[in-house]
């Protein structure tokens, strides 16, 4: 009887949860980027980010040297592919050369810093957002976005991925194949994910040691407990 009641409540609770969850959401369905999260993908993303995004967007909490220290990129590569030709310091933060007050003037509001954007919005959101631009002559920039309606940002990746209409028709092909373009967007997403929490490298390096140490401690502590509790009858 007791078990039946418990099961009954569980089923009722789950049923109710399911009922609520089954109702349609209004927000567009987000796509999931598929990739292996490793240094190679992140570095590819960093290069794309430096070329296409950093003109306007900073990742002010990142430092150029993290790319060397955490990801193993060579210092020469960082200078060649990532750093601005203005000769920013190697230990300095990755800040866009665009002055914030000018950017506010040009776009209506300054492009946001992207340091924690992946944590804030999720990688699925960024991935879908970057693939959801369409041409819209009613907007001052000429662009609009399905995920972020009336966004101020223009589709800077259009030369690569092509120009699309609101209904999803290709208006002007980009110079990359769709498959390659999606891979590049994925790389940028991987870089932003890394930027939002660079500790992941060290966490995964140290993790097994720390867990191993506590596991070992537990074994010895348990044996000690066993030895002491022998005489508890």
């Amino acid at each position: 009887m007791k078990k039946l009641l418990v099961i009954g409540t569980l089923v009722a609770g789950l049923g109710m949860g399911g009922m609520v969850a089954a109702e349609a959401e209004t927000a567009p369905v987000l796509m999931k980027p598929k990739y292996t999260y490793d240094a190679k993908t992140i570095i590819a993303g960093a290069k794309l980010f430096a070329m296409h995004c950093m003109v306007c967007h900073s990742v002010q909490f990142m430092r150029y040297e993290f790319l060397t220290k955490d990801l193993g990129m060579s210092k020469a590569d960082v200078h060649k592919y990532i750093m601005l030709p203005t000769g920013a310091g190697y230990k300095a933060n990755m800040v866009s050369a665009m002055p914030v007050n000018m950017a506010s003037k040009w776009f209506g509001r300054p492009p946001p810093d992207l340091s924690q954007m992946e944590r804030y919005k999720s990688q699925d959101w960024i991935y879908t957002y970057l693939l959801s631009f369409y041409q819209d002559s009613k907007r001052p920039s000429g662009w609009n976005n399905h995920v972020f309606p009336n966004v101020a940002m223009p589709d800077v990746l259009a030369p690569m991925g092509g120009t699309w209409s609101e209904k999803g028709k290709l208006l002007k092909a980009g110079n990359e194949s769709q498959q390659k373009f999606r891979k590049q967007v994925t790389d940028i997403v991987a870089f932003l994910r890394f930027v939002s929490d660079p500790s992941v490298i060290q966490r995964h390096e140290d993790g097994p040691w720390v867990l191993g140490l506590f596991a070992l401690f537990t074994v010895f502590a348990y044996l000690l407990k066993k030895a002491y509790w022998k005489d508890v009858k």
């Binding site: 007791k2 609770g13 949860g17 500790s199 995964h204 867990l211 506590f214 537990t218």
Partner: protein, 404 residues
């Protein structure tokens, strides 16, 4: 005369050691739920350690708070470890608090003579809530800003002086750098000291009346010729070594969270915690952290601000009455199946409320919200009636314990 003897003659510590450790007799049949108490002590110590370290780098001002918090993450050596320890630690403390309280409810540990132990413990739980709230306003993220606004606006409902109290609490008409200053002072001094002090009081009151056990029977009724309980064992060394192995398992879990799931799918560290405070960008739905959301769901379930606040206050305060709402002289629900079923429903309902409290305020959630509130309140209303008439088995004379 050796140095040890010289000190022992003058120190209160040897007596305290005997009273609270070496000759404190605890029942030998504690089960897994009894680890939560000592683990909470460990976690408070670790929160102090990680809090001390992040405090050394934190800048309490509206301009710099957010940047300094993320400066710890990116630029301070092992800063991420301090930060994640402190963030995940606070959520895990609430996991343990709920296990600890549920344990007390299942085995009737709040009943005579332990009413004051329950009440002090419950006050501690409320103070932990306050500590957590002040803590999550400090990073001055957008969630900090809006959660701080929502929670302090509850004070506006105080009759007559509500607006004045709210301004005092915030340090101005809205959340600002002044709010951060006073919340930091509360977080690291007053409220923290209250927690430490009340933990000591909680343990002293417990040791005066002795620990309960899963069978809920009094071990002091069966004593040997030395006057020691037959079913009791000295806390030291038996429970110190047992708790030590519990520490090992728990630290493994804690480290696994920190190293492999530090945001715990954004339950322990919400997404809106990673964007700076913006007074012009209100969050679509300001939901509290998971450990407060059951009460938030009840607050929302009444479509009237003051009505909701009254229900929430009732929900938060009514567990104080547990020792008197339960009319059955038998403590443990091992012998009171009806109360045990009611408790299981109560706990499941608490999860339902926690889940629904995290959802956006949409009409489709009204039903589970209200059902959850009704079950929560209903539990406390039914408890005195059920416990007066429920079928009760006779507890055994001695605690049941299988040597292993």
């Amino acid at each position: 005369m050796g140095l040890k003897e010289w000190v022992d003659k003058r120190s209160p510590l040897p007596d305290m050691w005997r009273e609270h450790m070496a000759e404190y007799y605890a029942p030998k049949n504690f089960n897994i739920f009894y680890y939560a108490g000592s683990l909470l002590l460990l976690m408070v110590a670790l929160q102090f350690l990680s809090g001390f370290l992040v405090l050394a780098h934190y800048v309490p001002s509206a301009e710099d708070a957010y940047n300094s918090v993320f400066g710890i993450m990116y630029d301070v050596k092992y800063g991420w470890l301090m930060q994640y320890m402190h963030v995940d630690g606070s959520s895990l403390i609430f996991v343990l608090l709920y296990v600890h309280m549920a344990r007390g409810m299942i085995y009737g540990s709040y009943k005579a003579p332990r009413e004051l132990v329950w009440i002090i413990g419950y006050i501690l739980y409320l103070i932990f809530m306050a500590e957590a709230f002040f803590g999550y306003v400090l990073p001055y993220s957008n969630l900090s800003y809006w959660a701080g606004t929502v929670i302090t606006s509850l004070l506006k409902s105080i009759p007559f002086i509500g607006n004045w109290v709210t301004i005092i609490a915030r340090g101005g008409p809205g959340i600002s750098g002044d709010t951060i200053g006073r919340f930091m002072a509360l977080h690291v001094t007053l409220v923290f000291i209250l927690i430490i002090g009340l933990i000591a009081v909680h343990i002293l009151y417990l040791h005066k009346v002795g620990s309960n056990n899963p069978d809920g029977i009094d071990i002091k009724e069966n004593k040997d010729s030395n006057g020691h309980p037959l079913d009791g064992i000295p806390f030291h060394p038996y429970y110190t070594v047992k708790d030590l192995s519990g520490f090992g398992v728990w630290l493994f879990i804690f480290a696994a969270v920190i190293f492999y799931a530090p945001t715990f799918h954004h339950i322990f560290l919400e997404r809106t915690m990673s964007t700076p405070a913006n007074a012009l960008k209100s969050l679509p739905d300001v939901t509290p952290p998971w450990y407060l959301s059951p009460f938030y769901a009840m607050l929302r379930s009444i479509p009237n601000k003051n009505g909701g606040i009254l229900l929430m206050l009732f929900a938060v305060l009514v567990p104080f009455l547990m020792p008197w709402l339960d009319r059955n002289p038998v403590r443990s629900t091992r012998f009171r199946p009806v109360t045990r079923i009611m408790l299981i429903i109560f706990f499941l309902n608490f999860f339902l409320l926690a889940w629904v409290g995290e959802q956006p305020p949409l009409p489709k959630y009204f039903f589970p919200e209200r059902l959850g509130s009704v079950i929560y309140v209903g539990f406390f209303l039914l408890l005195p009636i059920v416990t007066m008439f429920e079928p009760t088995r006779k507890p055994p004379a001695r605690v049941r314990y299988r040597a292993h």
